[in-house]
């Protein structure tokens, strides 16, 4: 089970590449995972063509959710808003490279949920089941 905590996840958790806050920003959204009290905020800057130029996250969470945030943001830099909307649950799981039970799935998907909510506006959610 240690491979559950792939080196990549621990490394990104301990030394994230995209941690921080952006003010001003074009998109900023935050949400919690009520199951564990995790809280993630994502700030995004876009250029005039709606391409992501900068993206960072802040907040608290477990290794899975924070590594997921870091990997997610890495993957969206240079993408347009429309491309970004197409990011799926599977993309996240591919990036993390691990299998997850239902509770941890919520951790892994929290950053994507936050990002999509920011893009689509409040209320949109993705199914994590």
């Amino acid at each position: 089970m240690e491979d559950f905590y792939r080196e990549l996840i621990i490394e990104r958790y301990k030394s994230p590449h995209f941690r921080g806050e952006l003010e001003p920003n074009d998109i900023s959204f935050e949400d919690d995972n009520p199951a564990c009290g995790d809280h993630i905020r994502i700030d995004v800057r876009l250029d005039e063509n709606h391409v992501v130029t900068e993206a960072v996250f802040s907040g608290e969470g477990c290794a899975i959710s924070l590594a997921s945030a870091d990997l997610l943001l890495e993957s969206i830099i240079g993408k347009t808003i429309e491309e970004l909307k197409e990011t799926t649950k599977e993309d996240i799981l591919d990036m993390l490279g691990i299998e997850l039970g239902p509770v941890r799935l919520k951790c892994a998907l929290l950053p994507l949920k936050v990002l999509k909510a920011g893009v689509y506006g409040v209320g949109e959610t993705i199914s994590s089941d």
Binding site: I10, C36, G37, C62
Partner: protein, 414 residues
């Protein structure tokens, strides 16, 4: 099963009573179950009692004249008597079957609360309450415009009784608190707290979800007005819990849920309520579950609650001692002497979810999160903790595996 007289408590024999403990979580990896505060495992006698009920006696109760209905009614009411006796309640008809502790407390909030409380009245709770003994009061406070006060928890994890005495001066109508914290393990000095509450005329309600399963509870001695607990945490089935209530209070409370069995006489636009406890048991109750609940109480009595308490103390002491050797780890709550078998902790820079997940890899079942006590976690500025909780079937080897697992957690995050 061991007798409860002078024989030694034989934990291996006890383990043999619980089928799930023989399970390998993954090939070659045994189950180390340290999540009994969430729900306990069930001995085969309890599982079998329910199967037998369905295979031989199943019928709806109370109104039936046929043989099965009489047997089912007797089984259901006999379970009520056993459970009432188990907590030394004055009479069986003061024990109402509910779904769980949560429903028991909501029943009091809805029925007693809405009749006897009104705008400006105060309810005194504590900062260590499980959401089950918090949200029902928030709901009714919102409806009736009541004021909620809270006995603070000290940094050591005890109730601040000085502040309690000050808060009593505001004349709360109700003092509602947990017997034992499901996070800190703190066992509250109930007898004194209840006496003080009574001296200002407050009604008392105790959340016994974590106490009744783990040590002897004597309702008559506590002189508490309402006491709530769940079968599933004490070797019994899901789907059933109980509420003890003082007789005169129960008799004067209006019904909560309406339906079959809680009535004496019904017309289209009015009804006459049944006597207690039936007044509060609307519809077909959890009959098989009552049978299982009764069997659980039989099982616990056969082992002996004193000996269960003692065994858990031993395990808790051992755990706390071993945890001292894990760097960067902080245990919540009071020292071993004042604590039940619940050990919640956090490790610096490692999230509780990650701890639980890595332990699970070695078959060790613990819980991570706020354990339905979010305000307490907020108070200690912790989003989540990891909790190991013990019961009669746990062993020193369980604890050793758990400690070894924590070392592995640290290695992974080193």
């Amino acid at each position: 099963m061991t007798g409860n007289s002078n024989t030694r408590f034989d934990v291996q024999q006890v383990r043999g009573d619980f089928p799930v403990l023989a399970r390998e979580i993954r090939p070659g990896i045994p189950l180390t179950y340290l999540d009994s505060a969430a729900t306990s495992q069930k001995p085969e006698t309890v599982i079998q009692a329910m199967s037998t009920y369905y295979q031989e006696n199943n019928a709806n109760i109370h109104r039936g004249i046929h043989k099965l209905a009489e047997e089912a009614t007797l089984a259901y009411e006999t379970a009520r008597e056993k459970i009432a006796r188990f907590i030394n309640a004055p009479a069986a008809d003061q024990l109402i079957f509910t779904r769980n502790t949560t429903e028991s407390i909501n029943l009091v909030a809805y029925s007693w609360g809405r009749k006897y409380l009104s705008a400006g009245d105060r309810i005194l709770l504590t900062e260590m309450e499980h959401h089950s003994n918090l949200i029902p009061w928030q709901l009714i406070a919102g409806e009736l415009d009541l004021v909620l006060d809270f006995i603070p928890v000290t940094s050591e994890g005890n109730l601040d009784l000085d502040v309690y005495h000050d808060l009593l001066k505001k004349n709360p109508k109700l003092v509602a608190l947990t017997h034992m914290s499901n996070v800190l393990g703190t066992i509250n000095p109930l007898k004194e707290i209840i006496r003080n509450a009574k001296s200002v005329g407050a009604i008392t309600l105790v959340d016994g979800a974590q106490s009744v399963p783990h040590f002897p509870v004597d309702i008559a001695n506590l002189e508490v007005d309402f006491y709530a607990f769940s079968a599933h945490k004490m070797c019994g089935p899901t789907g059933i819990g109980a509420l003890y209530g003082r007789k005169d209070l129960l008799e004067n409370m209006p019904p909560f849920l309406g339906g079959g069995e809680m009535i004496k006489r019904v017309e289209l636009r009015s009804f006459k309520a049944n006597d207690i406890p039936h007044k509060f048991e609307a519809g077909t109750p959890a009959i098989a579950e009552a049978v299982g609940f009764g069997a659980a109480v039989d099982y616990l009595l056969e082992i002996g609650m004193d000996r269960i308490e003692e065994h858990e103390k031993l395990l808790t002491n051992y755990t706390l001692e071993k945890l001292l050797d894990v760097p960067d780890l902080t245990v919540l709550g009071p020292p071993a002497e004042e604590k039940g078998g619940v050990v919640a902790f956090y490790i610096k820079d490692i999230h509780a979810h990650d701890v639980a997940q890595i332990l699970d890899g070695d078959g060790i079942a613990v819980r991570a999160g706020h354990h339905c006590a979010q305000p307490l976690h907020t108070k200690f500025n912790l989003p989540a903790t990891t909790r190991a909780s013990m019961y009669l079937y746990n062993t020193i080897e369980d604890i050793d595996r758990f400690i070894a697992g924590l070392q592995k957690v640290r290695d992974i995050f080193k």
